[in-house]
Symmetry: C2
Subunit: 252 residues, 2 copies
DNA sequence: GAGTGGATTTCGCAT
DNA sequence: ATGCGAAGTCCACTC
């Protein structure tokens, strides 16, 4: 890590160039103007802002208030930095669509090259597992009268299933997807159903639960005479939150 | 400004509390875990991140790559900070919807309280004037066969007009708004049309161009038998960019 | 205060 | 590569 407080622009320039060269995260705080030109155009006069240039070339310019950056660029930018007329000019160029974001620093209060190591996986809930829990908690999410019999282990990595019976006693296999499901997910359910049908009765329903179905997945689903019931991870998290404290009933 | 490099957690705590107390922007770089619970839930294991807490209580947690914050809170958060088990725990609580974002710092590499002054107005183009230019440049934006006759000066501050003729030779008055137009904007066009109709022929069309119409404005527009054609500044900026280099034809 | 639609949306997945 | 739809979307504005 390399931090300088109230650096001369020349020193700040070195920090900036060093960060770019080593593909490290750059942090710059100071008074600057910001100009953007590309899909749209914007201008922002002199003021104190925080500039972050990440390892992948993503650029963020933050004002002292607000969640959103006032200007930005997604990752993959190229950079050109130089001292011009006693000002530190940092130009971020995005190839496609062609855009340029220009920061002109009059004064730098804080310049830092950061060595950030971050290998952790980000997990957003509700997971498919929690979606499964949610269905066991409130089986009416599937349909009125649905009764879960057994939560199943994954058939293939990435899938979660629930077995149950509908109100008329017909076996039901449920496949859950955390996000928009594609054809392959529907095929998985189909394959699974086929296996069960060969082992047991042919009278089994298959219900696909996901926030959404891709177009091709929907066609396939109709062709295979499977059913679809929308269910989002968000909805599940809400229900789990609300029902928190209750015991999760397990069925055999 | 108050910056400490590689502070003890106790010193970092003081920086954090000081920043909150004085409503200053807080900058924290270090190894932390991040937990979010609210509309959804998320977990992020130990890793190096940048934390920004802004003057308005907006919270941003950034990993070393990517445009988007991995976790965040919009402005208006309350905070509780403390040392727990040799870790610096910062909790941001959002009242509505009720959400909590918890950062658990194991090590702080950089802690800063920033005094940022930023009073400049952010300007995003295209302006109404540029939207007008765009229509003169590509009259088909209004409708096929439209021919501009004269760009007009503003009738009232905030408005731009274009005069022209449609393909059948009927005079057309165009009113432009940079953003969603309300009733008063439609009334302006109406007033203007009335004036022209009293002076010249009664056979004049009025076309309103804006990214969107407010509901009330749309009702009024229908009542007054005016027309509406969507046009966004973004679209204009794109066209202006594309057609850049061409001469802007002026009509008398 | 709830609802609606735009965004320099970004991002991801299907086509 | 292109395009469509979701997002913990956020935000501004209408009702």
């Amino acid at each position: 890590m390399n931090v300088i407080v109230d650096p001369e622009l020349q020193s700040a320039l070195e920090i900036v160039k060093g960060a770019h060269a080593q593909r490290k995260t750059l942090l710059l705080v100071g008074a600057c103007r910001v100009d953007y030109k590309g899909r749209a155009e914007s201008k922002l006069g002199l003021g104190d802002r925080i500039l972050i240039v990440k390892e992948d070339g993503a650029v963020l310019v933050h004002r002292p208030t607000g969640y959103e950056p006032v200007n930005w660029q997604p990752g993959g930018c190229m950079f050109s930095t130089q001292l011009v007329d006693d000002k530190l000019v940092i130009r971020a160029i995005r190839p496609k669509p062609h855009e340029t974001l220009t920061l002109t620093f009059k004064k730098v209060n804080l310049a830092a090259q950061l060595d950030l190591t971050d290998r952790s996986a980000f997990e957003l809930y509700a997971t498919e597992e929690e979606m499964q829990e949610t269905i066991l908690l409130d089986p009416s999410l599937v349909e009125p009268g649905f009764r879960p019999i057994a939560p199943e282990k994954r058939v293939k990595p990435g899938f979660m299933d629930v077995y149950g019976m509908d109100r008329s006693g017909t076996p039901v296999v449920i496949e859950i997807k955390r996000k928009t499901a594609g054809r392959e997910a529907v095929l998985q359910l189909w394959k699974y159903l086929q296996e069960l049908r060969s082992q047991k009765t042919a009278n089994i329903r298959g219900i696909f639960m996901a926030p959404k179905l891709a177009k091709g997945a929907q066609r396939l689903l109709e062709t295979l005479k499977l059913e679809y019931k929308p269910l989002s991870p968000k909805r599940c998290a809400e229900i789990l939150n609300k029902e928190k404290g209750r015991k999760l009933l397990r069925y055999l």
